[in-house]
Amino acid sequence: MSPESSDGGWSPYLAGALVGVLAIVSVFATTTLLGKGSYLGASTTFVRAAGLLQQTVAPEHVAANEYFKKEKVMVDWQFMIIIGIFVGALAASQTDKSFKLESVPPEWEKRFGPSVGKRAIGAFLGGIVAMVGARMADGCPSGHGLSGLMQLSVSGFVALGMFFSVGILVAGLVYRRRRS
């Protein structure tokens, strides 16, 4: 367990443990400063982003939608976390020159070739399926996985188990075959 990973980053054990500390501090800070403890999560922000974008073309439709009413279309604490993740990752990648403009992931390219269009379609369709699933399950690997397991929530264990077991199954089917 060395403090550095082979590619110049930090040990995943160290970085992960620090995220654990961040999660504790975050619940404590939201409880004391905002009056209600909030746990780290990510996927609800995509609902709010969808609502904000749709509002620009069809505000009445968004206002009438039951799900948007339930989740409230607004830039909130979690929305700012998502923006922060972008900023933090950008900053971290500048400190060790790991920032790299990449148009297709290397592993994807090995299987499906260098076409950006193909990657765009795959990622877009995968994104739709994943987000419908995350909203149905009421969480993603952050909300259910990290925050759920930390609290020993039964839902977290079942959800993370499903995410990984089906992920392993589908990744095996999609990526294990040789490039055609």
């Binding site: 604490w77 419908v132 020993l152």
Partner: protein, 176 residues
């Protein structure tokens, strides 16, 4: 910007920084775990969970914070979890890591982000139907493992931590 916004922003910056330094934002790392070749994201997640779990349980026992379980809505979690796993494998990002990947220059993550925003819009349209079907199948409510198993959390937390350390030792032995 309110206090909530600033707090979220700083929390997010720290989270994004650690996700990037842990190298878990890469498509290759996400896929590596699902292909059982590279367990970086599991090492990262499980380390966060064990540390977070100990602190959160102590603060909760002390009455300083409250737990907030997500409902154990069985049908929705099984079907939603399966859909998420499918999409995750194809896209190679999860909601949180997609924006971080964009931050470290992997600009193709924008397609995954666009897909997820579209997926959220699709879900909002499907919601009225789902509410009376999948979401209504079998809801066990907001339950925690200790009360469900009838075992103290201070039995589960040490066992979970030791089990995780054993898993880490195995990963290192196998070079995963």
């Amino acid at each position: 910007m309110t206090t909530a916004h600033w707090l979220g922003l700083f929390t997010g910056i720290a989270f994004g920084f650690l996700l990037q330094k842990g190298r878990v934002l890469r498509f290759e790392k996400q896929l590596g775990a699902m292909l059982l070749k590279d367990m970086t994201i599991l090492k990262f997640m499980m380390s966060a969970i064990v540390v977070g779990m100990i602190g959160i349980m102590l603060l909760s026992d002390a009455g300083i914070i409250k737990l907030s379980h997500k409902p154990m809505n069985l049908g929705a979690i099984l079907l939603g979890g399966a859909l998420f796993g499918t999409g995750w494998a194809i896209m190679g990002y999860c909601p949180g890591t997609s924006v971080g990947a964009l931050g470290e220059g992997r600009w193709h993550a924008i397609f995954a982000i666009a897909g997820m925003i579209a997926g959220a819009a699709v879900y909002a349209e499907l919601y009225p139907i789902l509410k009376t079907t999948v979401l209504a199948w079998k809801d066990f409510g907001k339950i925690g493992l200790p009360e469900t198993l009838g075992v103290s959390k201070w039995v589960i937390v040490p066992l979970f931590s030791i089990g995780t350390l054993g898993l880490f030792a195995w990963f290192e032995k196998k070079g995963l």
